[in-house]
Every structure is written in structure tokens, then in C-alpha cells.
């Protein structure tokens, strides 16, 4: 009975014996082995892995286990995390590029661009987001109260192939989009027909903003 075998990782000997008992194949064993060998002979010959300088690359046992993290790996991951945090802290507060500075560079009227303390930069029709993170969330916003539909198009959307629809919130259209590291060009399509480059948005009565939602290790630049 089981009362005598209540250890956590043991089974009664009778069960272990039943588990270890061979099973009889439905096909005769010799025929099954012959079938395997026949299939094997049809296969190309396996080759030994080439060795570099006579050495066979060896992986530690812990690396063979999926999901397992070695102590050294855990320490390394912790150090990397701390280093990233420390480098982020070194960067200090995020510089805010205001519309007042950006607008004259693009010849825009300063009054058409919203100044926001939390917003990174103003989009241009040839904007470059120098994003140092791998992926970060960026909020793209377009102020177009009269529009019935607005979509974001960019190089990362295939310029329309996967346009991101913006949602209206009190006259402002916005969407949070994960943006990959690198420089990106963006624009908007209003009412499915009017392509609005960010640089000409002000002249057309639109206002464009971005808000980087990820931490302050990224910078945005306007060209």
C-alpha cells in the first residue's frame, strides 16, 4: 500500500517495476529494427562536426537547459541592468526642444507650435528620431479638429501599407507607437486623402507633436 511510500519523489516498487517492464511492439522487433536500418541506409551519411584547432566547442550543462540561468549569468544580468540605469541617470533631465526654438529653424511661425515641458520635439516632415533605445513608445499627435480620420504613415509603416490610425481626443489625434532605434521619417494622412508632412503642417493649420513615453535615454532631433 502507499502508506509505506509517502516520500515526495518515490513510487512503490511494484509501480516502478511496472514502469520499467518492456513493452511488446505491435510489429515484430526484428522487422522494426530492419525497417529503421533500411531507412537509415537511404539517408546521407552523417558528418562529424568540424573542430576549430582540434577543439570541440563545449557548452556547460546549465546552458543546455532551456530557461535555466546560471549564477554567473544572473550576476552578469544584474550588472548590466545596473549599468544601464546608471548610464541613464548620467544623462540627467531630458532636454526639451521647444517649438520656439525649432520653429524659426524651419521657418514656421512660432505661435503655431505648442510648447510642452514633457514633449521631446516637434516632428518635421523629414524628422529624425535619434532613438538610443532599441524600442520605445512614442506618441504621435496631430491637432486637426476638422478631420474625420487621421493615420500615421512612416518609414516603419511602409508608407501606408500598415498605416497607424490615430484616435481622436478633444480635437487632437494621437497614437502610441513602438518605434525602433534609428532615424525615422513620418507624416500623416488626413481623411484618407490629404498627405500632411509635419513640416508643412503648421502652414496648413495643423499642429504636430511627439511625446516619447519611454525613459529619458533617447533624444529627438529635428532637421
Amino acid at each position: 500500500m502507499f502508506d509505506a511510500h509517502d516520500d515526495l519523489e518515490t513510487l512503490p516498487p511494484s509501480l516502478v517495476a511496472a514502469l520499467r517492464r518492456d513493452v511488446r511492439p505491435t510489429v515484430e522487433r526484428g522487422a522494426a529494427v530492419a525497417a529503421i536500418m533500411e531507412a537509415v541506409r537511404k539517408e546521407p551519411a552523417p558528418r562529424a562536426r568540424t573542430r576549430f584547432l582540434g577543439l570541440r566547442p563545449k557548452r556547460p550543462r546549465w546552458a543546455l537547459r532551456r530557461g535555466a540561468l546560471s549564477p554567473a549569468g544572473a550576476v552578469l544580468a544584474a550588472c548590466l541592468t545596473m549599468a544601464v540605469g546608471w548610464l541613464g541617470a548620467l544623462g540627467g533631465p531630458r532636454p526639451v526642444t521647444t517649438g520656439a526654438r525649432a520653429a524659426p529653424e524651419r521657418g514656421l511661425a512660432s505661435g503655431t507650435v505648442r510648447v510642452s515641458a514633457i514633449r521631446d520635439s516637434i516632428l518635421d516632415n523629414a524628422i529624425v528620431l535619434a532613438i538610443r533605445d532599441t524600442v520605445r513608445m512614442v506618441r504621435f499627435a496631430l491637432e486637426a479638429p476638422a478631420a474625420s480620420r487621421v493615420a500615421l504613415v512612416a518609414d516603419f509603416t511602409g508608407w501606408g501599407a500598415q498605416a497607424v490610425p490615430l484616435r481622436r481626443t478633444a480635437g487632437e489625434w494621437s497614437a502610441d507607437v513602438p518605434v525602433r532605434r534609428g532615424a525615422h521619417r513620418v507624416g500623416f494622412v488626413v481623411n484618407d486623402s490629404q498627405w500632411v508632412g509635419a513640416g508643412r503642417a503648421a502652414a496648413r493649420g495643423f499642429r504636430v507633436d511627439t511625446l516619447a513615453l519611454a525613459p529619458a535615454t533617447a533624444t529627438a532631433d529635428t532637421i
Binding site: V16, R21, V23, V33, G67, A68
Partner: protein, 182 residues
């Protein structure tokens, strides 16, 4: 003098495909037992074993002599059983039905201590286990692998395997105590 697994592998890699028969002969029964426990009785287990041996042959160059060949081979069998198990719907139900209809196969050698009721109840109980628990308990008790070898065979961490074995043992005891066949 018996040819070791490593020697047989070396001969195969040198171009003698027939030397692979040594390994097939040596491990066919254990592989079939493992596959049968994991998949249930029926043709699937034998298909899984054949496919596993073919895969082992194709990738024999990846075998490292420092590992036990049996553990390396069992890993392939386990993966093959997982693939086959995932393909068919309702693996548990099929397993349970197969176990009920066919049993686990008759013992190769009758033994006076054999207890048919125990065997049948064990198969039913195994069929009712979660697949990952069944895998762990079979590798542990049927194939007598160490936890490290089980981890290598399944890709699951040792602590998770211990937990699965504990749970499987607890459930097997509970199920088999209910029926009071052992």
C-alpha cells in the same frame, strides 16, 4: 568485448552506416517503452521511435561523447513524442482510450510478480496525468535518468522537474489508492 556507444558512433561517422544497428538494437526497447509511456499504446509510439532513430542518425555529428548516448537519444525521442502528441487532438483522451483499449502492450517476458491489475491501473493513471508530469515521472522511474539527464532530455530546469515528479507521484498515489489495486 562490447562496443561502446561512443565507438559505435565513431564508426558510423567514419562512414559505416551499418554500425548504427548496434545502437538501434541496444536502445530500441527502451525507446519504445519511453514512447509508449508518453504516447500510449498503438502505432504512434513505434512511428515516434523510428523517426527518432532517423533524426539521431542525421544529427549524429552533434553528439558529444561526454554525454550519455542514451540521454541524448531520449531527448530526441521525447521531442518526437511531443511533436506527435501536439499533432493529434486531445492527446490525453486518446492516450486514455488507447490505454483502455489496448493496454500498454503485453510484457515481453511474463514474470510471476506481474500484476495485470496494477499494470492496467497504472496505464490509466498515467494517461490522466498532465503531459509534462507524465514525461517527468516516466523519465525518472521508467528510464532511471538523473535529474541532470532529465533536464538535458526535456529542456526543463531541474527544480521544475523535481516539482513535476513530486506532483506526479502524489497524483499517482492518490489515483491508485482510490482504486486500491496496488
Amino acid at each position: 568485448m562490447t562496443t561502446t556507444d561512443a565507438d559505435a558512433v565513431r564508426v558510423v561517422l567514419e562512414g559505416d552506416a551499418d554500425a548504427f544497428r548496434i545502437l538501434v538494437d541496444r536502445y530500441y526497447d527502451r525507446c519504445l517503452r519511453l514512447a509508449t509511456h508518453l504516447l500510449g499504446a498503438g502505432g504512434d509510439a513505434e512511428d515516434a521511435v523510428q523517426d527518432a532513430f532517423l533524426r539521431a542518425y542525421r544529427h549524429l555529428g552533434a553528439y558529444q561523447e561526454r554525454d550519455r548516448f542514451s540521454a541524448w537519444l531520449f531527448r530526441i525521442v521525447v521531442n518526437q513524442c511531443r511533436t506527435l502528441g501536439a499533432r493529434r487532438r486531445g492527446t490525453m483522451q486518446l492516450h486514455a482510450r488507447a490505454a483502455l483499449e489496448h493496454g500498454l502492450g503485453e510484457p515481453a517476458v511474463e514474470h510471476p510478480a506481474d500484476d495485470d491489475a496494477t499494470r492496467e491501473e497504472l496505464q490509466r493513471a498515467l494517461a490522466r496525468l498532465e503531459p509534462d508530469q507524465r514525461e517527468a515521472v516516466v523519465l525518472k522511474f521508467s528510464e532511471d535518468l538523473t535529474y541532470d539527464e532529465m533536464a538535458a532530455a526535456t529542456g526543463v530546469g531541474v527544480s521544475a522537474l523535481k516539482m513535476r515528479v513530486q506532483r506526479a507521484c502524489r497524483r499517482l498515489r492518490a489515483m491508485l489508492t482510490e482504486t486500491n489495486h496496488v
